[in-house]
Symmetry: C2
Subunit: 254 residues, 2 copies
DNA sequence: AAAATAGTGTCTGTTAGACATTATAAA
DNA sequence: TTTATAATGTCTAACAGACACTATTTT
């Protein structure tokens, strides 16, 4: 390959100083109310932040993330950096936006690719500090949004929150926050933890017996055909369900 | 700034060779049936492609696009490159995916940011060739998907099509393809041009008199309060409507 | 009169939404 | 026996979906 046959050459242009990724890991923590044994827990939507060890924004809270290598996709980078910085791996990451305002990163010209993941609390139980992170913590989202974070990470978390709220109502991502088997109350609580305005008085009935929607979840039975129940959160046992692979197609036109 | 106080330095790492953008401009062309004067046109969803002048993929059809400058966002880059390569400007562009597979671009390590736009045919009437483009043409999407295109542009168009099909059903982007005033048939045809499987026998009634949906569009009246009508496409005049700013919130849970 | 598109009537079964009521087991 | 959560009953108005039918203008 010589200069004449190849009109393009990176040397002649200013190129980016890096292609970082930032990962917004959401989880829902459950806290049992004190003094009451069988009751619904308080559920809180939290985001995983790290305390930076290095310049820039040393000592500030930030999203985990790091620089993409030439040999990987941005998706693979996000997986790798999450593992390296926090010890958490195997999450389902979804890319949702790109941040490219000039000057957003004091290290140079950086175009950042933002991902989000929704996980059960147990998936981030293995979190640990690292070379990059002096601390790794779950912070309630509303609190995180009021903190002074590194870079434009406050905006990124805010955008991610908008996105997962939309997705929570229009897809079955609620399953990412739930165990394989769950009760209607657990599902209802999870939706409310993400979308506080959500309210549906006839929730159980709509999701179980409405023709166009009942395919979303299915009841669970044991080998004898008996309905599986749980009384983990209630006096009266509640029926257990699981998500199917079906997601209804929504339309504003009918 | 010296090396000791700044642990990060782009010089020590391999950095990307560029941050290109690719723009998928969709339009719907209207063709009047021959011999019939007042009839609904045949509408075809088409995508704007350019014929490349330079290496790589010289002479191949490709999406318009180009390299981001240090002084702009990827969004601004997409606007600028679209103008430079095709003469088209002022479109509403939406970023929908990132393409970063190693080896996807023979010029080097390129992480590409893909945008789509939906526009009326008149908006791309000003298209013209340029230094980069030997030809600029509208190609029917199905045909474009069967062509041998430059880079991974076939995948990008395919992903963009999936995205706008979803958005067509769940938002009011149909308005991007339509004039300010339109008839129910025009709206119906536009939806069908994007989502061929769309069928709704009681379309007019649902969108005009269903309580939860009627805020999407509103009927148009002249200064005397008379309903505005059009007989552009029909013997019997059809009522004219316009979109409002309202989009219903969809939910799979009720 | 025929053609082409616009728009309404009417029917049945389903769903939304509100709220009262009953059920089950633990504390 | 009270408490906390689970689940059903009941009612009305709105809506979905199917299809027949009427309306308005040009050719």
């Amino acid at each position: 390959m010589n200069e004449q046959s190849i009109p393009y050459s990176p040397e002649q242009y200013r190129t980016p100083d890096g292609a970082p990724t930032d990962i917004v890991v959401f989880t829902i923590t459950s806290t049992q109310k004190a003094g009451i044994k069988k009751s619904l827990p308080i559920r809180s939507l939290e985001v995983m932040l790290i305390k930076r060890k290095k310049w820039p924004y040393e000592g500030k809270w930030a999203l985990p993330g790091g620089f993409t290598l030439e040999t990987e996709t941005v998706q693979q980078c996000a997986q790798r950096e999450l593992m390296e910085e926090t010890g958490v791996s195997g999450l389902h990451l979804e890319q949702f936006n790109v941040y490219s305002s000039p000057g957003r990163d004091p290290r140079g010209w950086m175009i950042s690719h933002a991902f989000f993941a929704l996980v059960q609390e147990t998936y981030v139980a293995s979190r640990r500090t690292s070379d990059e992170a002096a601390d790794v913590r779950l912070i309630p989202v509303e609190e995180a949004l009021s903190m002074e974070l590194a870079f434009d990470h406050r905006d990124i978390i805010s955008d991610a929150l908008d996105k997962i709220r939309l997705r929570m109502m229009t897809s079955t991502i609620a399953k990412e926050f739930l165990p394989e088997r769950f009760t209607m109350s657990e599902l209802y609580q999870v939706i409310q933890a993400v979308v506080p305005s959500f309210q549906e008085r006839n929730f159980i009935r709509k999701i179980t017996s409405t023709q166009s929607r009942k395919g979303i979840i299915e009841e669970m039975r044991d080998s004898k055909g008996q309905l599986l129940m749980s009384n983990q959160y209630s006096q009266r046992p509640a029926q257990l369900y699981r998500f199917t692979d079906y997601t209804p197609e929504l339309s504003i036109y009918g």
